[in-house]
């Protein structure tokens, strides 16, 4: 149903209960990228929904400010035997509001596990059209490198489409694989460069280097295609 709605015109007003359901899922960060884009465009001129969205953002901002200088500890003395506010046990900070937000981090964070393996040629190797190739997207959100978004992780396609965000104004972008050739890449209007990588022994374990020039200064980022983790999404 979500797909049908996201393909519907934005100027069609949903029923109130459906708007609420969408908002709930949005605020719980349970929408995928396409659904999020559709819903944000939908709410942009709807004050009642915006009010509820702003309330949630206020809570986020207020929490960030209140916990910034640890004054929250004085304002929230525990009234039971449970421990006070602390990072969750075994906390694995996903996108902490701290340093390490560079694109390099997203690259070094790597790409999905286990998809690189020596493979024999499959019929897909010679197919004229390849449906749903595996796709890996590296992007930056709110200044923090987000985990790579992996789609069609189980694809039988012998290729993987890799998309990497580069800073605005980046030029002379290249990617070079260890002991391999160098490819020139042209950033798209959205600020991404793309390349196809074969899912076989030729790319397994090889260090790749993305290089570009920004404001007259050369930048490089190195990564491998087989040592990282990501959330696979079929």
């Amino acid at each position: 149903m979500a797909r049908l709605i996201t393909q519907s015109p934005l100027d069609t007003r949903l029923a109130s209960w459906l708007e609420t359901a969408w908002l709930q899922r949005y605020l719980e960060r349970r929408l995928d990228a396409e659904e999020t884009a559709w819903f944000e465009a939908y709410v942009v001129d709807k004050p009642a929904l915006l009010e509820r969205l702003e309330r949630d953002t206020d809570l986020r901002d207020g929490l960030a400010e209140a916990t910034r200088d640890k004054r929250v500890a004085a304002a929230s003395q525990p009234t039971d035997s449970e421990p006070d506010v602390q990072p969750l046990r075994g906390a694995r900070r996903r996108r902490p509001y701290g340093p390490g937000l560079a694109l390099a981090a997203s690259l070094l964070a790597g790409i999905g596990v286990g998809w690189i393996s020596a493979r024999q040629a499959t019929p897909a190797d010679t197919a004229a059209l390849i449906a749903n190739p595996m796709r890996i997207v590296f992007d930056t959100e709110r200044g923090a490198a987000t985990g790579p978004r992996i789609e069609h992780a189980g694809s039988a396609s012998p290729y993987t489409l890799v998309e990497i965000a580069v800073p605005p104004g980046a030029g002379s972008v290249t990617v070079q694989m260890e002991n391999g050739g160098r490819l020139d890449l042209v950033p798209s209007a959205e600020g991404f460069v793309y390349f196809l990588a074969r899912k076989d022994a030729r790319t397994a374990g090889r260090v790749m280097t993305l290089a570009y020039v920004l404001d007259g200064s050369g930048q490089t980022r190195s990564f491998t295609l087989d040592d990282a983790k990501g959330e696979a999404k079929q």
Partner: protein
């Protein structure tokens, strides 16, 4: 003809009319465009930027200006696509700025933004302090430390709802109750303090 269909036609007509008027140089239509979309643009800019981002106003102005330029030039042919175009411009503008900062090694950590925010806009600083004060009150009212950990985990550490629930051993319904009450209570506190939400 259904009510939804009528609404859709009316909305499309209004957007189309506004776009046509802006293209023809109608200054009042430009003001109307800003009035109609500024709040939504601001709300979405805040969603796409970090807490206490000092450049929210700049982003809002930049987005509205870019889209207005497109409308003036008549480059936006499908008026019904205006909301999606606005949203795309917001994402592009905020993401480009953060990519730029990251590539220049510029500070984006909250601790470093603190200094910028403090020096930037006294009114915004005051609002930020009021917001923090009300949230401290809110946190102080939560009797169970686990509920405070829930809010911190979800909003500050940006963990998923499922992760937070699993980690704290709570049910999704409890998660929703805590978050819902927190939002409602914060609104109540802000209204009592006289500071508008979402400003």
């Amino acid at each position: 003809m259904s009510a939804a269909h009528t609404d859709r036609e009316a909305s499309a007509d209004a957007s189309g009319n506004l776009a046509d008027r802006i293209r023809s140089g109608d200054r009042a239509a430009e003001a109307e465009f800003v009035r109609q979309y500024e709040r939504g643009v601001r709300a979405l800019v805040r969603r796409h930027t970090r807490p206490r981002e000092p450049m929210v106003d700049d982003f809002v102005q930049d987005v509205l200006y870019q889209v207005l330029q497109k409308l003036r030039a008549g480059d936006l042919h499908d008026a019904a696509a205006l909301p999606a175009y606005l949203r795309a411009t917001i994402v592009y503008t905020t993401t480009a700025e953060y990519r730029k900062r990251a590539s220049h090694g510029e500070p984006v950590a909250t601790e470093l933004l603190d200094g910028i925010a403090s020096a930037a806009d006294p009114a915004e600083q005051l609002r930020s302090e009021q917001l923090a004060s009300q949230v401290r009150t809110l946190l102080g009212e939560l009797p169970v430390a686990r509920d405070r950990a829930l809010l911190i985990g979800f909003y500050i550490e940006e963990r998923s709802k499922d992760e937070v629930c699993a980690e704290l051993g709570i049910e999704p319904d409890h998660f929703r109750r805590v978050v819902f009450r927190a939002r409602e209570r914060l609104r109540d506190l802000l209204e009592r303090a006289g500071s508008g939400a979402g400003a």
